[in-house]
C-alpha cells in the first residue's frame, strides 16, 4: 500500500502498511537517520520529530495519521556545513556526550522556540521533560537551548 508523506518539505510516496510507525519509515525507507529508536514505548523521546508544529514520538505514531501533515526531522534544521542556529548552539555548548538523545531534544526544543521564542529556564525544563538523557548533559542541553533562543532572537 502506498501513502504520501511530506517530510522536510518534500512529498515522498512510501510503500508501507499504514500501521507502520513513522520512525521506521524515516529511517528505513527515507534514510533519514537523525531520529533514533530508544524504547519504542513513547517513554524516552529519542524518536521525537515535529508534525505540523508539535513534537511527537515517531516510534509509535502510525503513518495512517500523517497523510497531508508536515513532518520535520533534524535534517531540516541545517547541514554539517551550515548548521542551523539550534544545531550551532548544541555544538557550541558541546551538549552531546553519546548523542543518542540529542535529535529528539533538538526537535522538542525547536517546537518550543517556534512557539515561545523567549522561553524561560523553567519553560525549557518543562517542555523537555518527556525526553530522557542517560549521559547527564542536561545542564548543557538547557544552556544550548537558551543560546539558540538568543541567537534566533538576534538574527
Amino acid at each position: 500500500m502506498s501513502i504520501t508523506l511530506n517530510v522536510n518539505g518534500e512529498d515522498h510516496s512510501v510503500d508501507a502498511d499504514i500501521d507502520t510507525p513513522l520512525l521506521y519509515v524515516l529511517r528505513n525507507d527515507l534514510k533519514l537517520n537523525a531520529a533514533k529508536f530508544g524504547c519504542g514505548l513513547g517513554q524516552c523521546g529519542a524518536c521525537t520529530v515535529i508534525v505540523d508544529d508539535r513534537p511527537i514520538f515517531s516510534c509509535l505514531t502510525p503513518i495512517s495519521l500523517l497523510q497531508g501533515r508536515k513532518i520535520r526531522t533534524v535534517e531540516s534544521l541545517g547541514t554539517p556545513d551550515k548548521p542551523g542556529p539550534l544545531q550551532r548552539a548544541f555544538i557550541d555548548e558541546q551538549a552531546a556526550q553519546c548523542g543518542y538523545c540529542i535529535p529528539g531534544m533538538m526537535m522538542r526544543a525547536q517546537a518550543l522556540l517556534e512557539r515561545n521564542p523567549h522561553a524561560s529556564d523553567a519553560e525549557i525544563r518543562t517542555a523537555l521533560e518527556p525526553n530522557l538523557c542517560r549521559c547527564g548533559t542536561h545542564m548543557r542541553i538547557i544552556r544550548a537551548v537558551k543560546r539558540a533562543a538568543n541567537a534566533m532572537a538576534g538574527a
Binding site: M1, I18, D19, G42, V51, R54, T61, R69, T126
Partner: protein
C-alpha cells in the same frame, strides 16, 4: 404599642446575639508559647503519617513548585479560587503556634486557631467524623514536619463569599459533627472502612455531586459526575459504570497501587490519592475497599472474568496484524494502527494496555477521561513500575479523536449509547477551556499546570 415594638426589637437583638455567639463567633485559642518544643511519641507520629496518607493532606497542601505541606495550591470553586494553607509547623505562616486543641477544633468544626471560619474546600464536613485520638496522631505528625516559611496567595472570592462568617450558615446546613454511627449488622472491618471513607478519606468530596451551595448532595451520595482538574469522577455507588464488579481484594489492590487489570489505572487527581494510599496500612486499605465495594453492591455488573488471553511472556510474538484498509471507518483505522498493538497485546503494564472490554472509562457516562488519556497519556511513575501510556495530542486531530471515541464506545461499550457530547468535550479539551492537570502514578504533576495551557499538545 410602642412597648410591643420595643419588646420585639429586644427579642430580635437577643436572638441575633445568641445566634452570633452560638454559631458564628468562635473564640481564638491562645497560641503555643514560643520557644517551647513539644515532644511526641515516635509511634504516634508514625500512626499520624499513615493517617495523613489516607487523608491525602499533601496533595492539596503542596504546590508543584513549593515545599511539602506548605500550601498555595489553587482550588477552583464556583464561588472563586481558594488557596490551600501552609500546614507546616512554621509559627508565622503555618500552624506552628497551634495547640492540639486548636488543631482538633479545625478538623471537627472548620474554624482556625484565631476563630475564623474555614471554607469547606478544606473538607471538615468529613474530617468532623475523625476521632480525637486520630486527630492527635495527625497533629503529632504535622508538628514534626519541617517548618516552611511560605504564605499562600490570598483567596479570590466574590462578595459575599469573602466574608468568612457566612460559613456559619453553611456549617448549619452541611456540618454534621461527630463520629459516624456504628452499624452492628456489619463486620468490624466494614465499620472501620465506613469510618475511614466517610471521615479522613473524604471520598465523597470528589465522588458525591455538590448542590448550588457547594454542599454534598446527600440524596446522590457517591453518584459521581463532577469534573475535577479536568477528570471525571466516577460514581462509586450502585451506578458504578465498571463493566465488571469490584471485589474488595481488587479494590484494595487498586487503592494501593493505582492499577487494576480488571478496571484500569488511576489518573488525574485520583493518581495523587492512590500514590498516597500506597503509604497507608494494608488493613485500613482493605477496610476502605470492603466499605466502598458495599456501596457499589447494587451494580448489575458481572463478577470479574479470568484474564483471556493469558499474558504473553518475552519471546512470544504477536499474531500478524490484520490487513487494515485505509477506506475502513476512520475510528477503526486509528484504533487498529495506533492503539491495538498495546491494548490487544495481552501484556501487563507498562508493556501492554488494558483490554477495553474491562475499561471503566469506556463504560462511563462521560468520555472526558478517555479524551484526557488519549491526548496526554499516563506519565511513568518515578522509581516504580506501573501503567504508562504516551499521549497523542500532537498527532490526532479533533475529528480523529471523535471518530476514535465513537469507535471505542460502539465496539467495547456493551451496547451503551454513543456519547452525545464527545465533539464538544474534545473541542474544549483541545482548546484548553477544560483545564486538565496531568499527574504520574507517583502523584507528581507533569508538564505545565494545566497541561493544556494555551491548547493541547503545545
Amino acid at each position: 404599642m410602642r412597648r410591643i415594638v420595643l419588646v420585639i426589637v429586644a427579642v430580635i437583638v437577643v436572638v441575633a446575639a445568641a445566634a452570633y455567639f452560638g454559631l458564628v463567633y468562635k473564640p481564638a485559642i491562645d497560641p503555643l508559647p514560643q520557644g517551647q518544643a513539644q515532644s511526641f511519641d515516635a509511634a504516634l507520629i508514625a500512626h499520624g503519617a499513615e493517617l495523613a496518607a489516607i487523608g491525602d493532606c499533601a496533595s492539596c497542601h503542596t504546590s508543584a513548585a513549593g515545599q511539602p505541606l506548605a500550601g498555595g495550591v489553587a482550588v477552583p470553586t464556583p464561588f472563586g479560587t481558594i488557596y490551600s494553607t501552609n500546614i507546616t509547623p512554621d509559627r508565622e505562616t503555618g500552624i506552628g503556634s497551634w495547640t492540639e486543641a486548636a488543631f482538633v477544633r479545625a478538623m471537627q468544626q472548620g474554624v482556625d486557631r484565631e476563630g475564623r471560619h474555614l471554607y469547606p474546600a478544606f473538607p471538615f464536613d468529613h474530617f468532623t467524623h475523625v476521632s480525637d485520638d486520630d486527630d492527635k496522631a495527625l497533629y503529632a505528625y504535622l508538628m514534626t514536619r519541617d517548618p516552611v516559611n511560605a504564605r499562600p496567595p490570598a483567596n479570590q472570592l466574590a462578595f459575599p463569599f469573602n466574608i468568612r462568617a457566612i460559613m456559619a450558615g453553611w456549617d448549619l446546613l452541611f456540618l454534621k459533627p461527630g463520629l459516624v454511627a456504628e452499624d452492628a449488622s456489619q463486620t468490624p472491618e466494614w465499620n472501620r472502612g465506613h469510618y475511614l471513607v466517610e471521615g479522613l478519606g473524604h471520598c465523597g468530596a470528589c465522588h458525591t455531586p455538590r448542590n448550588a451551595l457547594g454542599g454534598e448532595d446527600a440524596g446522590h451520595a457517591y453518584g459521581g459526575g463532577m469534573v475535577i482538574d479536568g477528570w471525571f469522577a466516577y460514581p462509586i455507588n450502585a451506578s458504578s459504570p465498571a463493566p465488571q464488579k469490584w471485589t474488595p481484594d481488587e479494590l484494595a489492590t487498586y487503592l494501593k497501587t493505582g492499577f487494576s487489570a480488571d478496571h484500569g489505572a488511576s489518573r488525574g487527581p485520583m493518581a495523587q490519592v492512590t500514590a498516597k494510599l500506597g503509604e497507608a496500612s494494608d488493613a485500613d486499605l482493605h477496610a476502605m475497599a470492603v466499605y466502598i465495594a458495599s456501596l457499589m453492591a447494587g451494580s448489575s455488573a458481572p463478577a470479574p472474568q479470568p484474564p483471556n488471553p493469558p499474558p504473553l511472556t518475552s519471546g512470544d510474538s504477536l499474531a500478524p496484524p490484520e490487513v487494515i484498509k485505509a477506506s475502513a471507518d476512520r475510528g477503526a483505522v486509528i484504533y487498529a494502527t495506533a492503539c491495538s498493538s498495546c491494548h490487544e497485546s495481552g501484556r501487563l503494564p507498562p508493556f501492554g494496555g488494558i483490554d477495553f472490554h474491562k475499561s471503566t472509562a469506556i463504560h462511563a457516562d462521560s468520555p472526558q477521561n478517555i479524551i484526557d488519556m488519549v491526548l496526554f497519556g499516563l506519565p511513568a511513575a518515578e522509581g516504580r513500575t506501573g501503567a504508562t501510556m504516551p499521549g497523542f495530542a500532537g498527532t490526532l486531530s479533533q475529528d480523529d479523536l471523535v471518530a476514535l471515541l465513537n469507535y471505542l464506545r460502539a465496539t467495547y461499550g456493551d451496547g451503551r449509547p454513543a456519547w452525545s457530547n464527545a465533539a464538544q468535550l474534545v473541542a474544549d479539551t483541545l482548546s484548553g477551556k477544560t483545564a486538565v492537570n496531568l499527574y504520574g502514578q507517583d502523584g507528581l504533576p507533569r508538564g505545565p499546570i494545566p497541561v493544556n495551557r494555551g491548547g493541547a499538545g503545545s
